[in-house]
Point group: C2
Chain length 245, copies 2
């Protein structure tokens, strides 16, 4: 599957994905740009049923965690680099917010490279944005030491479905020339017309008894209250992992 | 250039890169996974000499900014989505840290997809990690409204060099099975042997009059003092952009 054809795959065949293949793809993915060539990431490979059962509720029981033969948890990692510095009598000052952002950036570039390579190989993937929702649970389960923080999870398997591609906003809505050009009310209406008109989205509005699709997002899917509670949890976890000193 | 062959390109031919090509690649890149299909990013395209001159010092005068025909600043963007919600009488609660992380994640997946597609097209790119070092300057110059934050910058042009690929750590150093396995001192020594043995790195140690390569990182390139000052600047900019309410 090429990038332009990509779709998220949530159903997988029972067939296993060999670790030799995963290893080759991870090795190639590591060609991604990385801050000062520090490679500020680690990936934890989960195949064990028991560990998957532990991960599943941390991802709100999305069925892909149990269904996929392989679950990859990509982590920002300044621990390895710091340990190297400590062994060389070098004062590693990476227990701060900027260093977390640097490591998280390295991690996401690496993650997306892996995704592209896996899909080119015929594998299907699903990106679980829930990784940063309950990070402390993932940290405990996967035994992540200080200066390691889970950023992204990808479930990987051989596709057992080929869903339609989902809608995307028009290019002009997210590309700005010279400086950011703010949106007129009319432009916003136009950009979201397609999304609002889709039968499945109209169905969501109906079953949730809302006036429109935006309210499905704000009142049901991604609420202020949840976001604020989860923000606090994430900040606490960042502090505990040593990234806010 | 395929992912496994990639290298950062810092020197570009004078030849322009047509906006139609950039547009096609950005459109394809938007196939990246995105939180709830919200597409929480924008990209600002800089071609104007005057604006490039403004950006250059914000990237510590790395010469690629002036040398490349196109500079792309990828931004986490919850502004567009929030404006849509506001026009639909929906209470958008995205002025918090989790929402910033969600938007930054979307942005980096999109950025890496663009990079891969551009390189497959024969273009060369350089990722500027400096984007989060002085974000407030970039915010002011590119006129980013609240809930928009610069995350990554890519310089793009036709390659005028083909450098050697840089070293990478061995796979076993960043892949963990089942849970995170902490490193023995011996393993760290082994993982960093190649990097420490490279002539260019030994040269850095020498010219900086340090005892070893790790000290070049901690005392010269990425110091505790700089990291802490930049962390504070980034937190302040996040607050000002409305992401920490």
């Amino acid at each position: 599957m090429e990038i332009k054809d990509r779709r998220t795959i949530r159903r997988y065949k029972a067939e296993d994905v060999p670790q030799t293949l995963i290893d080759r793809l991870l090795g190639e993915a590591a060609r991604a740009a990385t801050m000062g060539n520090m490679q500020l990431y680690s990936v934890v490979v989960t195949r064990d049923e028991e560990l998957k059962r532990g991960l599943a509720p941390l991802h709100f029981n999305q069925p892909m965690v149990m269904a996929a033969p392989v679950v990859l948890t990509f982590c920002a990692d300044f621990h390895r680099f710091t340990q190297w510095c400590q062994q060389r009598d070098a004062d590693a000052g990476y227990d701060n917010f900027l260093s977390f952002i640097n490591a998280a950036s390295d991690t996401l570039l690496f993650t997306e490279n892996f995704t592209t390579l896996a899909e080119a190989e015929g594998l299907g993937t699903c990106y679980l944005g829930t990784t940063v929702y309950q990070p402390q649970g993932i940290i405990d389960l996967l035994k992540l030491p200080k200066l390691v923080f889970p950023i992204a999870t990808i479930t990987v398997g051989w596709p057992d479905e080929m869903p339609e591609q989902t809608d995307r906003l028009p290019l002009e809505s997210f590309v700005h020339h010279d400086t950011y050009h703010d949106y007129s009310a009319e432009a916003i209406d136009r950009f979201y017309t397609l999304k609002e008109s889709l039968p499945e989205n109209q169905h969501f509005v109906e079953v949730n008894q809302k006036q429109n699709l935006a309210q499905v997002f704000t009142d049901c899917r991604y609420t202020r209250r949840d976001n604020e509670a989860l923000s606090e949890g994430m900040m606490n976890a960042l502090k505990k992992q040593g990234f806010l000193k």
